[in-house]
């Protein structure tokens, strides 16, 4: 029944791991024509499904067994929940009569995942199953997207019954608002017409709503610069003259100052996260704030909002553009140009000197022409990716923003590659993070998923080391990784290709080599150990107070 429902939902790939409580499900998979990717850890299965979902916009599907299988999903579910990624997860559960008896491999995954799912179900009757499946897919991928979990006891998997998949869903307590309030939209239009120093602040909502073209149109028509969050990077072309790049803790100097000087800030599908705002009561102090979001609970949660617009970003922007008139802001743009010149993103790669991480990432950008699908792990390399890779296409970045999950990027790249088989997929990884799910090299080789893992190998948990350097007087506590492993050998042990670059001149060569190989490749970039990410807003400081470099 589950498999039939998945077919009705046009699911083409499932990520999962078998076990006692899902034997029946896996038996049905045996001759079903849906692809199943067996990862080497359930956490990786969720991240892979999440990468698939972010890269395609379609919900990712995960199977896992009861007990430890289900609890291994937790980090992945929380990651997807924080970043509003649509997933449908199906876990086996012990047979209904055994529930609550501490049976073998019983875990209350319904209870455990209550706070990290958009909704979850424990199926108690076979008759409910088709409806629940239908609802799960609908809930996951509508409104503000998110993970939905279905816990399915073994006896219900075994039971036979007539399968009638409902055509429609009726969930009385769930009615997302898609159309924005016209009065508020008009107020936003007026505010934009009056503004002298407007900034658009775009988040992941623009990506999930597919509103990138409308955002571009709005920016160009009103000559308004656009800054994005980490989640929103692929929503606006990074090399567009109106792009300010990312804002926030490791955002560009000019994006943060522009927001600080703005008289109008239009937040679109973003949620004023503390990594973006810094000290919240000093954020965009001089600006009128328009907030467009599909989730009413986000509006007014962290910051006072002058013009609240609840609705789907795409629909709201469509409406907004109907009456928005063309405008120029030569002075404002000149001011931004001035800011850009006064603190550009720079690094100085000596041809024979130590390899710099920024240079490696910029080289990946150059070699892929900004056309690759990128996933990242979490740490310095993630922030350098945000700064130096200029994203061009929608859904070309999958990175754990809200939860900041190390171990996300590599499995996510497998899912992204399966969802976008024709494209080049790079995972930009840290040497620490990669080791959290490096066992997935077996999956990559097993299914020949040709991802390129670029390890920015600084021999440190670099981001933590940077904080210890700056805020704890260089007392480096448990951050060194110099004892390896040898990532080239590791790749080879799994049957993948491993390549290494230690000098600037080798970087482009190995990247090209990797792209020419039709299978998974691990690239070990030996970079300078104590390089830091700048600019940096110290925690709880206003975003205009940035540390701009090591000398400060």
């Amino acid at each position: 029944m589950v498999i039939e429902a998945l077919k009705k939902e046009n699911v083409d790939v499932i990520f999962g791991y078998p076990g006692g409580a899902v034997l029946n499900l896996y038996d049905q998979l045996y001759d079903a024509d849906i692809r199943h990717i067996m990862t080497r850890h359930e956490q990786a299965a969720v991240h892979a499904a999440d990468g698939y979902a972010r890269a395609t916009g379609r919900p990712g599907v995960v199977f896992a067994t009861s007990g430890p299988g289900a609890t291994n999903l937790v980090t992945g579910i929380a990651t997807a929940y924080m970043d509003s990624v649509p997933l449908v997860l199906i876990t086996g559960q012990v047979s209904s009569p055994l529930i609550g008896t501490d049976a073998f491999q019983e875990a209350d995954i319904f209870g455990i995942t209550l706070p990290i799912t958009k909704h979850n179900y424990l199926v108690t009757e076979l008759a409910d199953l088709p409806r629940i499946m239908k609802e799960a897919f609908y809930l996951a991928a509508s409104g503000r997207c998110g993970p939905v979990l279905i816990d399915l006891p073994k006896d219900i998997q075994q039971a036979e019954g007539e399968f009638r998949y409902p055509k429609t869903v009726q969930i009385p307590g769930y009615n997302p608002t898609y159309d924005g309030h016209l009065g508020q939209i008009n107020r936003a239009i007026k505010a934009l017409a009056r503004a002298k120093k407007p900034v658009l602040y775009a988040g992941g909502g623009v990506v999930s709503s597919g509103a990138h073209e409308l955002l571009l149109e709005l920016a160009e028509r009103t000559e308004t610069p656009v800054t994005t969050t980490l989640m929103g990077l692929s929503a606006f072309p990074g090399c567009h003259p109106l792009s300010l790049g990312m804002l926030g803790m490791h955002g560009t100097y000019w994006a943060n100052i522009a927001v600080n000087e703005a008289d109008l800030l239009i937040a679109i599908g973003a949620r004023f996260d503390d990594r973006v705002t810094g000290k919240i009561n000093r954020f965009a102090q001089g600006a009128k704030i328009v907030h467009i979001d599909i989730d009413p609970a986000e509006i007014g949660k962290n910051i006072r909002v002058d013009v609240p617009i609840v609705g789907d970003v795409k629909r709201v922007l469509t409406e907004l553009l109907k009456k928005t008139e063309a405008k120029q802001h030569p002075e404002w743009l000149a001011r931004i140009e001035e800011l850009k010149n006064c603190a550009p993103l720079v690094y100085c790669q000596e041809p024979e000197g130590e390899l710099l991480p920024q240079f490696v990432i910029e080289s990946i950008y150059r070699e892929t022409k900004g056309e690759a699908v990128i996933t990242t792990e979490v740490g310095q390399h993630q922030m350098w990716t945000a700064q130096y890779y200029k994203f061009k296409n929608l859904r070309s970045l999958a990175s754990s923003g809200g939860l900041g999950t190390m171990g996300y990027g590599f499995p996510a790249s497998l899912g992204a590659q399966l969802g976008r088989p024709e494209e080049i997929v790079f995972c930009i990884a840290g040497d620490g993070s990669f080791q959290m799910n490096s066992q997935e090299l077996a999956t990559a080789v097993n299914y020949n998923i040709p991802v390129k893992v670029a390890i920015i190998n600084n021999q440190y948990l670099g981001m933590v080391r940077q904080w210890q350097q700056i805020f704890f007087r260089r007392r480096y506590s448990s951050v060194a990784l110099e004892k390896g492993p040898d990532f080239v050998k590791l790749a080879e042990a799994y049957g993948a290709v491993g390549l290494r670059a230690e000098k600037a001149a080798e970087v482009a060569v190995v990247i090209r080599q990797a792209m020419a190989i039709p299978g998974p490749v691990v690239l070990d970039f030996r970079v300078r150990a104590e390089e830091n990410v700048f600019p940096m807003v110290p925690p709880n400081c206003p975003t205009c107070e940035m540390i701009r470099g090591d000398e400060e």
Binding site: L114, T124, G173, G300
Partner: protein, 174 residues
């Protein structure tokens, strides 16, 4: 300040946990919570009393609204409504002061529902002031145990809650 919310929820397993968990994890304070079925057995009604400032209350309501099993939330705080709570109080009592206690009970229009050699159980329904008043008085005799149902509230007159709004009654009342 204290707010009173009437929340209609689908009568499904786990709904109470969802509500309680949401309050706990977002740091909202529940003063009291009472649940029971409505005329429609598929729907339950919760009365939740929340201690919050206005901004927090807004978040409480918005976050509750995101729970899929929640149907309607209405804020009864500023609506004319009848608020009641039932309390049972076990008080130390003996032959010498039982009559005195009986008098207090009558004055408050409460009831003695159980008598033993050394104690009585008093049942009383009322709003907060009334309950606090009797509890204070009875504390002189020694309160052994109390149990409270939590506040329940209903709009006065023929007004009902429909679609989360307060409306004049028409046919289908829950």
């Amino acid at each position: 300040m204290k707010y009173v919310l009437a929340v209609l929820v689908e009568n499904k397993p786990g709904v109470l946990v969802r509500v309680a968990g949401l309050f706990a994890r977002r740091g909202f304070n529940i003063e009291s919570l009472a649940v029971g079925k409505t005329v429609d057995p598929a729907i339950s009604r919760m009365t939740i009393e929340v201690e919050a400032d206005e901004k927090t209350l807004e978040q409480v309501v918005k976050q509750l609204n995101k729970l899929i099993n929640i149907l309607r939330i209405s804020n009864l705080t500023h609506e004319p409504s009848v608020n009641r709570e039932l309390v049972m109080i076990k008080v130390k009592a003996n032959a010498t002061n039982r009559a005195e206690i009986q008098q207090i009970v009558e004055t408050f229009r409460a009831k003695i529902v159980d008598v033993s050699l050394h104690s009585v159980i008093i049942e009383i329904t009322g709003n907060e002031e009334k309950l606090e008043a009797i509890l204070l008085l009875l504390s002189h005799y020694g309160i052994l145990e109390t149990v409270r149902t939590g506040k329940i509230a209903l709009l006065r007159g023929s007004k009902v809650i429909k679609n989360g709004e307060v409306k004049e009654n028409d046919k289908d009342v829950l």
